[in-house]
């Protein structure tokens, strides 16, 4: 026990009822001796406590003249109540660890703003993050419009969104093309091997209408590595969950490191390597294709080919209104195919009024070997000219003029027009065999019969049932006798003996 100096006590003529000495339990207004004190005493002004002060349950240590603050324990909970001004827990100690809020038993640490108000987090005496009264978390923004809003530049007040969203990232710096600023960066430190998938945003949706907690993946967007180890290169993959396959996302669209976009997972044949920027590969025998459509029967669908120097549009255009398809080019259009089939009309026009179709020997040259030309006579008349190359020059071989007259070899006066008709042999013996197609009226047939060099030639005029041999001449050997008949416009011949190869070329007259 410490010594008590009586000089510490003043002589009082009256004893206030509120004055008392802590630890003294003797009678009032008597002279006291040090032995009257049971333990340490608390000086009323100044001094230092050198022992514990014990407050019983719910006994409060009160601060301030009006009990502005109270510190007490109920036996179950500790309370520090402040009724005036701001409550501070302030640390000014240098060299320490600052303020440590620690819970050393299992349980939560709660920041409970009981009424409508925010919870703020500051550094450098500046607000950095807050949880607002609606539960939205804002970083560098004091009015978050999303459950999580992150602003690059601190923003006070105002709305940055038109509708609430779950997460909102507001960048104020232009996105970097290298490993610099990004509004949102997803990083996957592994995956350096070509073909490796990287960081992923996965989309899941309800799997069972009766179980809202059961969601399954429907697709994702993920990084995709294509460059070799220690080399740059990569792109993105858009994955999907197939309808008919086991659970597991598979690549649907891949953008790789050379800018190629591939739909599906197939590879491109080497022969098509020059056209592999956009590839569609269907699985197995499934048909593939591209459809360009719109929601009405108007407008134009276009596949356009452009470059830095083209002055005219080249491409394919489909007019949804008329149904017309246009193929245009700045210069020639060349088709290379086994067969071309047109199920409708083919219209060829040219500003020269003499459009033509050229036939060339191969794709490496434009040297025409034959040409079909429409030569316009005037606005109401045109001719069709078939030209073939002879001695390096295209020559008019056949012309059909505007009145239907056919001119063979019209520009070669020395040879004139020659019409040859070749037909495979028909084997004829003593039974009558048809050697012509049916004519609706009749015809003139040039008939050549041959058996082992026994050859004769007959010029036969025939109608539906009538017939005559206009001329007949033996050619070589001793050709057998033959009989010609016409049955329903079909020319028949029967040999009197032997079997002959018969070649018939006929000009038929048909009624329109």
């Amino acid at each position: 026990m410490a010594n008590v100096k009586f000089s510490d006590f003043a002589v009082r003529t009256t004893v206030p009822t509120v004055d008392y000495i802590v630890g003294y339990q003797g009678a009032a207004n008597i002279q006291i001796a040090p032995t009257d004190f049971l333990g340490d005493y608390l000086p009323l002004a100044g001094g230092t406590m050198i022992g514990d002060v014990v407050y019983n349950d719910s006994v409060k240590a009160k601060f301030g003249t009006g009990a502005d603050s109270e510190l007490y324990h109920t036996g179950s909970h500790l309370f520090f109540d402040n009724a005036i001004g701001t409550s501070y827990i302030r640390n000014t100690a240098a060299g320490g660890t600052g303020i440590l809020l620690r819970n050393s038993v299992i349980g939560d640490i709660q920041f409970d703003n009981e009424f409508a108000g925010n919870i703020l987090f500051n550094t450098s005496n500046v607000e950095r993050m807050r949880i607002d009264l609606d539960g939205n978390v804002g970083i560098a923004v004091d009015n978050p419009e999303a459950r999580l809003q992150v602003n690059e530049i601190p923003q006070a007040g105002g709305s940055t969104t038109t509708a609430p969203s779950l997460a909102h990232f507001v960048g104020s710096t232009a996105p970097s093309t290298v490993n610099g600023f990004a509004t949102l960066k997803l990083e996957y430190p592994a995956g350096a091997t070509p073909g490796d998938a990287g960081a992923q945003i996965m989309f899941t949706q309800g799997y069972h209408s009766g179980d809202p907690d059961n969601t399954q993946p429907v697709g994702s967007l993920r990084g995709y590595r294509t460059g070799a180890d220690t080399q740059y290169g990569g792109g993105l993959q858009l994955t999907y969950q197939p309808d008919a396959l086991p659970l597991g996302l598979v690549p649907g669209i891949t953008l790789d490191g050379d800018g190629t976009v591939t739909i599906g997972t197939g590879t491109v044949a080497a022969a098509n390597a020059a056209a592999d920027d956009f590839v569609i590969t269907g699985p197995g025998t499934t048909a593939t294709g591209i459809t360009i459509s719109n929601t009405s029967d108007s407008g134009v669908g276009t596949i356009f080919f452009g470059d830095t120097t083209s002055s005219a549009a080249a491409g394919f255009r489909y007019d949804h209104n008329t149904g017309d398809m246009s193929v245009s080019a700045e210069d020639d259009i060349n088709f290379t195919c086994d067969n071309a089939t047109f199920a409708g009309n083919v219209i060829i026009h040219d500003s020269s009024n003499a459009p033509y179709i050229d036939f060339v020997e191969d794709a490496a040259t434009t040297d025409s070997k034959a040409r079909i030309t429409m030569d316009q006579v005037d606005t109401d008349n045109g001719t069709l000219i078939f030209s073939t190359e002879g001695a390096g020059t295209l020559t008019n071989a056949l012309t059909i003029n505007q009145t239907g007259i056919v001119q063979v070899n019209p520009t070669n006066a020395s040879t004139g027009g020659i019409v040859n008709s070749y037909r495979a042999a028909i084997s004829v013996s003593t039974s009558a065999i048809a050697i012509s197609n049916p004519a609706t009226y009749g015809g003139l047939a040039s008939v050549w019969v041959n058996s082992a060099g026994n050859i004769a030639h007959d010029l036969v005029s025939y109608s539906l049932s009538g017939i005559d041999v206009v001329a007949s001449q033996p050619i070589s050997g001793a050709a057998a006798a033959r009989t010609y008949t016409a049955v329903s416009g079909v020319l028949k011949v029967a040999m009197a003996a032997g079997t002959y190869d018969v070649y018939a070329t006929e000009t038929r007259v048909s009624l329109t």
Partner: protein, 79 residues
């Protein structure tokens, strides 16, 4: 009226160059329907004189092509 033979004509100045056979029928409207056939002699017979062709020889040829002529007439409605 049945289909009947109309003519068997040998053509040529001295030699027979061809022999024409003609048959005739009548259709339902009463019109004549005719059909013909032409026989071209063999090279060996190309210089055979008219007098050297016998009637039986010509009739034998006619018999062979008669059915074809009947068919041609029938196809046009003759009978």
């Amino acid at each position: 009226m049945a289909i009947t033979w109309v003519a068997k004509i040998c053509s040529g100045m001295d030699v027979v160059e061809k022999i024409k056979f003609i048959k005739q029928g009548i259709d339902d409207d009463g019109n004549k329907v005719m059909a013909s056939a032409v026989y071209v002699p063999s090279t060996d017979d190309s210089y055979k004189l008219r007098s050297e062709w016998s009637a039986s020889e010509i009739d034998a040829i006619a018999d062979k092509l008669s059915n074809d002529l009947d068919e041609a007439i029938t196809a046009q409605g003759g009978k």
